[in-house]
Symmetry: C2
Subunit: 427 residues, 2 copies
Amino acid sequence: MDVIRIGLIGFGTIGSAVADYLLNNSSYLKKKTGADFKLVKIAEKERRKVSSRYKGLLVSRAEDIIDDPDINVVIELIGGIMPAKSYILKSFAHKKHVITANKALLAEFGSDLLCASKDNNVTFRFEAAVCGGVPIISGLSESLVANEIKSVLGIVNGTSNYILTVMEREGISMREALKIAQKKGYAERDPYLDLEGVDSAHKLAVLVNLAFGFYPKFSDIYYEGITSISNLDIKYALELGYRIKLLAVAKRSTGNSIEARVHPTLLPLDHILSSVRGVYNAVHIEGSLAGKLLFHGKGAGKNPTASAVIADLVNIAEHLGRKDYINRIARDSRIKGLRNISEISSRYYLRFMAVDRPGVLANISGILGRHNISIASVTQKEKGRARSVPIVMMTHEANEMDMKKAMAKTQKLKAITKKPIWIRVEG
Amino acid sequence: MDVIRIGLIGFGTIGSAVADYLLNNSSYLKKKTGADFKLVKIAEKERRKVSSRYKGLLVSRAEDIIDDPDINVVIELIGGIMPAKSYILKSFAHKKHVITANKALLAEFGSDLLCASKDNNVTFRFEAAVCGGVPIISGLSESLVANEIKSVLGIVNGTSNYILTVMEREGISMREALKIAQKKGYAERDPYLDLEGVDSAHKLAVLVNLAFGFYPKFSDIYYEGITSISNLDIKYALELGYRIKLLAVAKRSTGNSIEARVHPTLLPLDHILSSVRGVYNAVHIEGSLAGKLLFHGKGAGKNPTASAVIADLVNIAEHLGRKDYINRIARDSRIKGLRNISEISSRYYLRFMAVDRPGVLANISGILGRHNISIASVTQKEKGRARSVPIVMMTHEANEMDMKKAMAKTQKLKAITKKPIWIRVEG
């Protein structure tokens, strides 16, 4: 019988859930997997975080785990770049398998870490880093191993999705919805990483690597959050048959390049991703053989995340007998790099706020036309009591750079009273 | 480098897709997995099915594969119970790992086959048997290994789901929708296994085993297909905020029993399963840690199925170095058996066709009341030119046996002109 001796670095919310699970379910896991999982050390600086029943396992330095020759598996759950990165690299050097949930680290240094794990012939797993309990990492790298991936579209930030859901349901502003989310514990006090799209971009970097065998430079990933989304646009989009979602988009593009971008996106109501509500996450994958797949579930929370960490642990246990590193995430040398956002094509939703006087529509559509942007539909709303009226347009496919230039020009029109809104459309 | 020598039994649609994939992608697979996959023999009785480029691999008897000591992995794709069962058992006895897509065989003899594979310390995989390209088998047994599963709800028959989708969209009858499905290749000439729920029940048997560690006797699984569903009920259900789906339901129930049943089911429109359209499949799982998960994708077709077979093959390759059998599907000895359908509780949708005269509603509701069935809502439709009017009811939770008795009694009422319709409600 294999004995898996585990060292846990970081005893926060997720770390304690993992420890509790291992403590309470060792006989179940033994029966299910034939292996004996033993949590032998916990490294946590804030000793008061660690409940008394784990005091016997507590060590003060991560090195007490990393340098322990009896430990096979290190679970890193402290988050952040440093010292997590050096802990993981040292664990590899000491021939330990590593599990992490650290998406920021993977986004920035995933390529280095994967290489180091390979060089040391150990396993490196991170199911919990993307979408918590949703098995998207093993889905992409294992279940879809036979497929050339065409695209990955994901709602991968529960906070943003919850806020958009509440804005639509209650007809309230982003700011009001954020307050509700914070009250419910769905948004942090400083929600920047979530609302500005950074967290989604971290996850997208990991997904791009798994889907396309190419690790993007994190700074090359375009991201834009939901802070500029108003409930007016949510309402108009719905009237047109679309719902606004914060989408992480990755696509195989022309010239062996990859598109990777995070931004608010109009999705048709009959697209399955548009029915993803509240704090749920979902990833939609198109593969060459399997066709279109959707994985949907809870993307955060201590239990879903612990579920993913344990799955990784069991997988490592199953592979302990192997002599070779399993090179599931092979580099695809054909891929040249990420396409710059200015080079992409998309359909767009546009909203202009304009003084209601003759010639405005002609001016706007003239500018669009001169930038090769073809209009698919226009709705001018009733004026009501406001000084300016909303003009809502859907375009045919257009180039992003053209759109950017056209929007800058329309903004300068005298009749335009606010910065025009433009949102990409998918599906 | 590991060399995986593969024997393929059965060269039908899926078999040829698997062979083509292995022929065209061996260098890709080698790069991705480090293993060398070689298809070395194909057993197919109908020699004319096998295209010329495979003639060199063709053998006439399955035994030529099973008895070949150089073959590590047997892929069984002939379907049906015999001789598939004996081929698989013999392969195990010859220490070969086996992959199958044979859900009927798994439903009837899965328990025996799993035991035999364990006794022979070989791997037995069948991702392709349930929902084709959707990784529900590895999802349940690997990604969710840490979870106690509470329930599994699945739309696992694409033909039935397509027909229900078309009936709703076009407002046509089952018979007309079936014709369209047959024309499109989505329904077989003899659609019995699909429309009567047998295929769904086969898949449910496999899912129950993975979810609850208990292999049900196939004959204990209750199933009922969609042949009695009329577009009238689809329409009335929609008016009430529900959509009718053929659902495979498995739940942990009281007294360590399991509910396992297949039947048309009303699902609330905001339940994510109700948005599964056309030939798509989806399985909704509730786990103790991961919470609610949905897997959605194409459940049939040669490419999605081949995708699953190749994923199994790669998994086997990864485990070749292992000395032990991996006991992922451990038996849960607490589970006593399946709950009989008459013992379940559910909410129900009821439709009566009644002559429009005083006292009918009182008669019906009197019978329901005497059988402990409490009515949540009633709608009596306008008469129009028909002799009888539809009375549509939604009940609160009631016992199935009570419902059955009550329905038999209402049917005897003089004012009732047709057999009453009763459909279970979920979610």
